[in-house]
Amino acid sequence: MSAQAMTQTKRQGTGDVQTLMEIKDLRIWYRTTRGNAKAVDGVDLIIQRNEVFGLAGESGCGKTTLARGILGLTKLPGYVESGEAIYYRRISDSTSVGSDLLTMPAREIRQMRWRHIAYIPQGAMNVLSPVTRIEKQILDAIYEHSDMSKEAARARMFECLEMVGLEPTVARMYPHELSGGMKQRVTIAAAVSLKPGLIIADEPTTALDVNVQQVILQELKDIAKSMELTLIYVTHDMAVHAEMADRMGIMYSGVMVEVSPVIETFKEPLHPYTQGLLSSIPAIGGDRSRMMGIPGNAPSPLDWPSGCRFHPRCPKVMEICREQHPPLLEVTPGRLVACHLYPTPISGAAPTFEELK
């Protein structure tokens, strides 16, 4: 990789080497005739190595734009307005080299994809070509992004199919011969084929039945643990996050409003939006009193509300919320919240890995 395209940041110490990706003030906007739709508007996020990171939020909050953005898949009329997404490759036990995915030339980012970062897109059952056999679709991805020999690639393909619990005969089939769950497993097999360090899965089980969803989630988690890879899991389904994630980030209107370990998020949600979101999930066997949900509508990305973007719907709105946008601050070790209810002296300092654990 060319030196100028890379933000060479040699990191010392054992703590920082755990950082896999650092997103700094990322803004991805869409040009429209009515102005810029600011789908992602100032996201700061640190992803650790070997964690399952859950990204939650309601539709239109920018989850998918963010996931595609950090892969350099933003397409016109979308563009990266500003920000960095630095991916750190580990080169030894104590050092890692970071490179900004957003400023990288197209040729280099092609090298990164699949080999380092794989993507399981939304509606993954529909991404397979209906006229191509499964084997060719997986092999093409392997050839395109690596220089494996034919035999090695085939062997790897069968290995991956087995990993997701598919018979080798599936390789010779066409997508229409498979059920939704099987197609989903094929996309997972393709995604892990080059042993990437990071997989971004965007709503991979949303259209599937609960039984199939359970099988796929368990497989995905096993693969993530056994291959020591990081998984960014995007879904609006909070129950899936409770099942899968180590840490989770809640997005609202293009910004992160809360980032914290999943157990604490569910036990004691801090941001009023998170509280609202959690109180709108009916739990089986739980209390059957009326749940309120969050009244009002998600704001339009063309015109975010002033100050805190949640203030028009917030039950705890204060005067300051209408005027000032709250920064994402660490309120207790490892927990970041963007809300004026929690002003803290620790300003913007990125939490260390020890704290995040």
Partner: protein, 343 residues
């Protein structure tokens, strides 16, 4: 489910099946039963919300269409106040249309994008002669919108794309409310709207039950939603009702292996209670051929016995009002006595 002659029964389907012919490359005729001998009744008083739960391809939507009179069943009867829906005369049909109202899955698909959303309300008022004057029509509309927790000024005059999915879906509820129907058949009404606003829709449906005595059939794939609504529940698997009963009974004592598996597979919104066991589900497609003489679940069932693939299980009564269609209960529980069919 109770005595069909009961005059509070509004809509009653008895032993309804819908058989489709599946196109295959060969000469062989292959049939699939989308709905297989399902009986279900919806009553007027007391109003209740019946949940119908099943995975995709289990025949939920086909059943909804049969109950709405949109799809004629292959076998069995659909009775509206004791009369066959397919044989209703003009007046009876009009009455049926008015009292049995649908809510569909896609909140945007039902509106014409070129018309304002309140046209759906205007046309209803016009077609059913609900208002004598324009002013009266307007106040009717406003009242209906307020009843579903919408502010009329937010909705009237807007186009579908200007509203959120949740709002569109509630305008649809407002439309149904104008007619004060007896029954609402809601086919996956919340699966396409955001979690945060789902509750508003579900609460409106609960309000309809409590304030206006409207019974609903709530079709969903989400057991948690069904639990929130309460009331009786039917679990549908490959076209057959495998278990039915009050939702509390089903959750306390899931008796069909399919229901058990379904319950185990639901992720719980509590990160301290994660799945402990691996799913032992074989992901199989629905069996294509319609075989009446075995249990539909036999291919996936962890407790399959030899009798399961030779005989169709009857309904066994687990407790009062709670039935499971599974041979596992043949030694301990009596077979449900099916009322003789009316000729």
């Amino acid at each position: 489910m109770t005595n069909p002659q009961d005059n509070t029964t509004v809509l009653d389907i008895q032993n309804v099946s819908k058989i489709y012919h599946v196109p295959t490359p060969g000469l062989e005729r292959v049939y699939i039963a989308a709905v297989d001998q399902v009986s279900l009744a919806l009553h007027e008083k007391p109003a209740r919300i019946v949940s119908l739960v099943g995975e995709s391809g289990s025949g939920k939507t086909t059943l909804a269409r049969i109950m709405l009179g949109l799809t004629p069943p292959t076998h069995g009867e659909v009775l509206y106040r004791g009369k066959q829906v397919s044989e209703l005369a003009k007046d009876g049909w009009w009455d049926f249309r008015r009292n049995v109202q649908p809510i569909f899955q896609d909140p945007f698909g039902i509106y014409n994008p070129f018309y304002r959303v309140d046209r759906a309300l205007d046309m209803t008022i016009k077609n059913f002669n609900l208002a004598a004057s324009k002013d009266e029509a307007f106040s009717l509309k406003a009242e209906a919108l307020r009843a579903v927790d919408l502010r009329p000024e937010d909705v009237i005059g807007r186009y579908p794309h200007q509203l959120s999915g949740g709002q569109c879906q509630r305008v649809m509820l407002a439309r149904t409310l104008l007619l004060r129907p007896k029954i609402i058949i809601a086919d996956e009404p919340v699966s396409m709207i955001d979690v945060a606003v789902r509750m508003l829709f579900l609460n409106t449906l609960l309000d309809f039950r409590d304030k206006y005595n409207i019974s609903s059939l709530m079709i969903t794939h989400d057991l948690a939603t069904a639990y929130y609504m309460g009331g009786p529940m039917l679990v549908l698997c490959f076209g057959r009702v495998v278990e039915s009963g009050d939702i509390e009974q089903l959750l306390n004592k899931p008796s069909h292996p399919y229901t058990q598996q379904l319950l185990a597979a639901i992720p719980s919104p509590d990160p301290t209670k994660r799945w402990e066991e691996r799913a032992n589900v074989k992901i199989t497609d629905r069996p294509l051929t319609h075989e009446g003489n075995k249990c539909v679940y036999v291919q996936r069932c962890p407790h399959a016995m030899s009798i399961c693939s030779t005989k169709r299980p009857p309904q066994f009564m687990i407790e009062e009002g709670h039935y499971a269609t599974c041979f596992l209960h043949q030694d301990h529980h009596p077979v449900r006595e099916v009322a003789p069919r009316k000729s």
